[in-house]
């Protein structure tokens, strides 16, 4: 216990869910009615806003430091962007990683151009309700975007990724100006064992480009659906972000080995501990032991606790329960390590 206390006495621990939430019953029906032309967009938007506020409230009451609006209207990670960019369109369905969930493959036919930006208006509308927590914005990483799309643009993959990053950088800047406290860039494809380090170098450069546009807001590179190869990870930790978020709960063995040898660089650690794809009661002690094992070599002063992936793959009620579990894990870890448990947005 003494070792644990000495490990944690300078640590500040906070919690935040990784990404989107499941839709509630009202919203599922409303979206269906909207598709059938039985509901106008104004009414639908109102219901999306109410539902987002419920999600935000649940996170605040569970002591989350950063909250998301649930991204309840997003059909998949790419869709809202694809829907407002020129020269790209959503096409056929393809399985989304190892889930029984399908996304529509974006088809790029030329260099993408943003007709409008999606996050800033949402942030302006909802961020003020997030206090005392900070409002978190999530963007798909440009390399994941390209690797999960069809490229008929005539551009090389790298060029296409760069043009996507340019748009996302503007998204991030506008969102920050509107009041976002945290910008998270998701690069789950970088955990694919077949992705080579060249893509990691590209991802690192492009994520840095996006985050350089956001001034002092906290920035996160999120890796999930497995652990990246060590040669990929060591390139990713060059990214200019405040924190790196890793899905340790899904691949505990691989991550323990990886993080023991490579660490988090100069970034703060965010540990994806709470499993967002099962309904089991979390094995709390095992999660705490895992966190302590990983943090043993960690020299940072701040640790975020999050979910293994987004919370949109389990039923709505359970996605809310998982937020409470996040709170519990963060609380118990702080108590075990003698660390400070942070509530509300993290001050530097």
């Amino acid at each position: 216990m003494d070792t644990k206390k000495s490990l944690g006495e300078n640590l500040r621990i906070w919690a935040s869910p990784l990404g989107g939430f499941s839709r509630n019953r009202v919203l599922r029906r409303a979206l269906r009615d909207y598709e059938k032309g039985l509901l106008g967009y104004g009414e639908l938007e109102e219901l999306i806003t109410y539902s987002s506020l419920v999600i935000i409230g649940a996170q605040i009451s569970a002591g989350m430091s950063y909250v998301v609006d649930g991204m309840l209207d997003w059909h998949d990670m790419f869709r809202p962007f694809v829907s407002v960019w020129r020269n790209v369109t959503p096409t056929s369905l393809l399985r989304y990683f190892d889930n029984n969930f399908f996304y529509r493959v974006p088809l790029f036919t030329d260099k993408p151009e943003a007709a409008t930006y999606i996050w800033a208006p949402r942030v302006r509308k909802l961020a003020r309700f997030a206090e005392p927590a900070g409002f978190k914005v999530v963007l798909p990483g440009p390399v994941t975007f390209v690797l999960m799309s069809k490229n008929e643009s005539g551009l090389k993959q790298e060029e296409l990724a760069e043009s996507i990053a340019e748009i996302l950088a503007t998204e991030a800047r506008l969102a920050t100006e509107a009041g976002a406290a945290l910008i998270q860039v998701d690069e789950p494809m970088l955990t694919d064992p077949e992705v080579n380090p060249d893509f990691a170098v590209l991802a690192s450069e492009l994520v840095s480009k996006i985050t350089s546009a956001v001034g002092t807001s906290k920035t996160v590179l999120a890796l999930y659906y497995g652990a990246p190869r060590p040669d990929v990870y060591e390139k990713l930790i060059d990214a200019r972000v405040s924190c790196i978020s890793v899905d340790v709960g899904d691949a505990p063995g691989m991550y323990t080995e990886l993080l023991t040898s490579k660490g988090f660089g100069s970034h703060c650690a965010i540990l994806g501990l709470v499993n967002s794809r099962t309904l089991y009661d979390e094995p709390l002690n095992a999660l705490l032991e895992l966190a302590i094992k990983i943090l043993r070599e960690y020299g940072g002063e701040e640790v975020g606790i999050t979910t293994t992936t987004w919370l949109d793959l389990i039923p709505y009620d359970h996605s809310l329960v998982k937020v409470k579990t996040l709170d519990l894990v963060a609380d118990r870890l702080a108590s075990l390590l003698g660390s400070e448990r942070l509530w509300g947005v993290v001050k530097p």
């Binding site: 499941s22 839709r23 019953r25 599922r28 979206l31 269906r32 598709e35 059909h75 998949d76 056929s92 369905l93 393809l94 399985r95 990683f97 190892d98 889930n99 029984n100 969930f101 399908f102 996304y103 529509r104 077949e194 099962t278 309904l279 089991y280 949109d312 793959l313 389990i314 039923p315 709505y316 009620d317 359970h318």
Partner: protein
């Protein structure tokens, strides 16, 4: 049981599902809401099965299916008829489409025939053409359910395999000639440990079974999982090929593939109907690889046709059948 003579070369078949006939949708909803009971449902759904079997016959398919008209979802249908599953809650599949992801709440047990009655009915209206029985595999049932009872994936998998085996025995007793286990979830975790675990389950399902034994896998890193599954106790792998631009062919050749092949030649996610010459090119591509003869190749769509408009699905099947006839002349 059937006197129809399946062609010795390039027989045509389907993977299983076919676009839902409106009355099938209606009766699935009525059963779910308790307006009709299970027995009434099985009777009510038969006209839908007859319609889709007729579509397949008209298209010229040699080995047909019941179109899975009774199944709202490939996992939910089975979960609702196996003891140990509890009702699920809504989880999104894509866009604004959801399914009630089943939850394992107790020991898994077979309580009665799940597919047998409708397979028999389909066989009675298939004009003596064989009807393929399609069963959702234990790995996919495991992966696409929530488990709150076992806490041990392998134990749950093996109990699911025993249930499927019981169903297989019932089907064999009634004369089934083609049994396909659908395992789309396997390709999403292309790891040796997972493949090894499923091999044990496949042995439970197929040991000593006297029928054509098929496993269908689709979408994902098939080339990564294939080396670990080639020794499964099955006669045929039915694989999605068209959607992934036939890139698996070179892998199959390299792996020394020697089983029968269910060769997916039309894309079930595209509304565009592949022309006969396009399908012929796909067949030619396979034949050029030289690792398999025409007597081991079954032509079919990449996957189930349920998401397509009915006329598109039928047109795709028709072109497969025409291409098969030409191919039989040529090879």
């Amino acid at each position: 049981m059937t006197s129809y003579r399946t062609p010795g070369k390039f027989p045509t078949t389907v993977v299983g599902s076919y676009p839902k006939v409106p009355i099938a949708e209606k009766f699935i909803k009525m059963r779910k809401s308790g307006q009709i009971n299970e027995e009434e449902f099985y009777e009510a759904i038969k006209p839908a099965i007859r319609e889709v079997v007729e579509d397949q016959l008209e298209a010229g398919i040699d080995i047909v299916s019941d179109g899975e008209q009774a199944r709202d979802d490939m996992v939910v249908y089975f979960a609702e008829r196996i003891r140990g599953f509890g009702p699920g809650e809504w989880v999104r599949v894509f866009d604004n489409e959801y399914f009630k992801k089943p939850v394992v709440v107790g020991r898994i047990e077979w309580v009665g025939p799940i597919t047998v009655g409708l397979w028999e009915y389909a066989s009675s209206v298939s004009k003596e053409r064989p009807v393929k029985a399609t069963l959702t595999g234990p790995y996919t049932m495991l992966e696409w359910s929530f488990d709150l009872h076992y806490g041990d994936r392998k134990e749950l998998l093996m109990d699911l395999a025993k249930v499927i085996r019981r169903e297989v025995d019932e089907l064999v007793r009634r004369g089934v000639k083609y049994i396909q286990i659908d395992e789309p979830a396997l390709s999403t975790r292309p790891f040796k440990e997972e493949a090894d675990m499923l091999r044990e389950a496949m042995e439970v399902i197929f040991r000593g079974v006297e029928a054509k034994k098929i496993v269908h896998i689709c979408y994902g890193r098939l080339e990564r999982i294939l080396p670990y599954i080639l020794d499964y106790p099955v006669d045929q792998f039915d694989l999605e090929m068209k959607n992934s631009n036939f890139r698996l062919l070179s892998f199959l050749k390299d792996y020394g593939y020697d089983k029968e092949l269910g060769y997916g030649v039309v894309d079930v996610h595209s509304l565009q109907v592949e022309s006969v010459s396009e399908i012929m090119k796909a067949i030619e591509k396979l034949m050029k690889e030289g690792f398999i003869g025409p007597e081991k190749v079954y032509l079919d769509p990449d996957c189930g046709l349920k998401r397509l408009p009915r006329e598109v699905a039928k047109a795709k099947l028709r072109n497969i059948a025409i291409a098969a006839r030409i191919a039989r002349e040529r090879w």
